[in-house]
Amino acid sequence: MPAKFETPREAVRRIRSGATVMVGGFGLSGVPVKLVDALLETPVGDLTVISNNIGTPGGGLGKWLRAGKIKKAIGSYFTTNPDVGRAYLEGKLEVQLMPQGTFCEAIRAGGSGIAAFYTPTAAGTDLAAGKEVREFDGKLYVLERALRADVALIKAYKADELGNLVYYKTARNFNPLMAMAADLTIAEVDEVVPAGALDPECIVTPHVFVDIVVTG
């Protein structure tokens, strides 16, 4: 189904307390800031957030953390926001740390109907503790489950009228993967162009993955 067009405020109304929400971005690049801010104005909380980082102190998803909206964070690098460590030590935040490549692959698997996969990453380390380890061709691999979310909030550069997306430089990062892996994908874009205005060879996220597009 081609995407619907809504405002950030309308779009985030679809997120329920207790939901699992994927949020794109690497550091503060490629984070859908308007959607992040719009959710802040709702009473929604108790969220499980799947995002590589939890922003900075009071920046990006750091705002959700300070507002007490995050119950659990799943990602690879929370070190850039000291609030995360503090909340974790105070028992206010659950944290699930994953190697970044495993994090990517688990999201892609979730979007692709793959239930689980064997990766060599983290074999023999603390991050494989309690996980099934199996040998293939003499090398050890860790079984990792797919990740999915109720809602994905992603940031793209341009959408066409159907919801096809292109990205901007390194702001692409996790966004195309997360677009695939949620029951509802909401894409924040800088610009909407007519259908046919994006080069068919260059569309990164075909509209089949996008439910709602928001701009201003």
């Binding site: 081609p2 979730g110 692709s112 509209h207 993955f209």
Partner: protein, 227 residues
């Protein structure tokens, strides 16, 4: 009595009514490939083809055919505004990941538990499966469009498939020239019957056990300007 070819169109036209406006649809080969001709006014569907294109446009005139712009049946197609190209990996991620709203496929047999057999014929070495297994596992709705019986008159709706399976329990709707069945909570339910056939005859042509919707929809199917 319609011809064999007309019957294929009759089935395709009824299958097209199963599609909703906005659906992203993958059409299989055979009868399903005719479905796009019968999508009702007001309904726009978005065609996906597993060789890596979304928003497949109609066939071009022969002189405009591009051998590198084809659908999964290897027929020349065209671009529409908003067409996108992608590799086969992403294309099957769309299918297996549940991003395709509906598929219309043909079948050799469908069982009363929704198993589908569509790729291998008994006693023949079959060396092609293609994307059928991924498609029926992944698509949100699997609409089987097939003739009610084999050429020899044997029922294709059966208690258990005797041919090699494409997938277990994945059929959602079965459209034939005589009737429409839906799977509801894993049970096969007759929901519509053509006015050219009586229920006893239908039962004789249908080996699968089925329940009946009350009231059963009776429709005229033989009418129409069939090619």
């Amino acid at each position: 009595m319609p011809t064999e070819e007309q019957i294929r169109h009759i089935i395709a036209r009824r299958a097209a009514l199963e599609l909703n406006d906005g659906d992203v649809v993958n059409l299989g080969i055979g009868i399903p490939s005719l479905v796009n001709n019968y999508v009702p006014p007001g309904v726009r569907i978005h065609l996906h083809s597993e060789n890596g294109i979304l928003e497949v446009g109609p066939s071009p005139s022969p002189e405009k055919a591009d051998p590198n712009l084809i659908n999964a049946s290897r027929q020349p197609v065209t671009e529409l505004p908003g067409t996108s190209y992608f590799d086969s990996g992403l294309s099957f991620a769309m299918m297996r990941g549940g991003h395709i709203d509906a598929t219309v496929i043909g079948a050799l047999q469908v069982s009363e538990t929704g198993d589908i057999a569509s790729w291998a014929v008994p006693g023949k070495t079959v060396l092609g499966v293609g994307g059928a297994m991924d498609l029926v596992v992944g698509a949100k709705r699997v609409i089987v469009a097939m003739q009610h019986t084999t050429k020899e008159g044997a029922p294709k709706l059966v208690p258990r498939c005797t041919l090699p399976l494409t997938a277990k329990g994945e059929a959602d709707v079965v459209v034939t020239e005589h009737a429409v069945f839906r799977f509801r909570n894993g049970r096969l339910v007759l929901v519509e019957i053509g006015d050219h056939i009586d229920l006893d005859t239908l039962r004789r042509l249908t080996a699968a056990n089925f329940e009946m919707e009350e009231p059963l929809r009776v429709v005229s199917r033989w009418e129409g300007d069939w090619k």
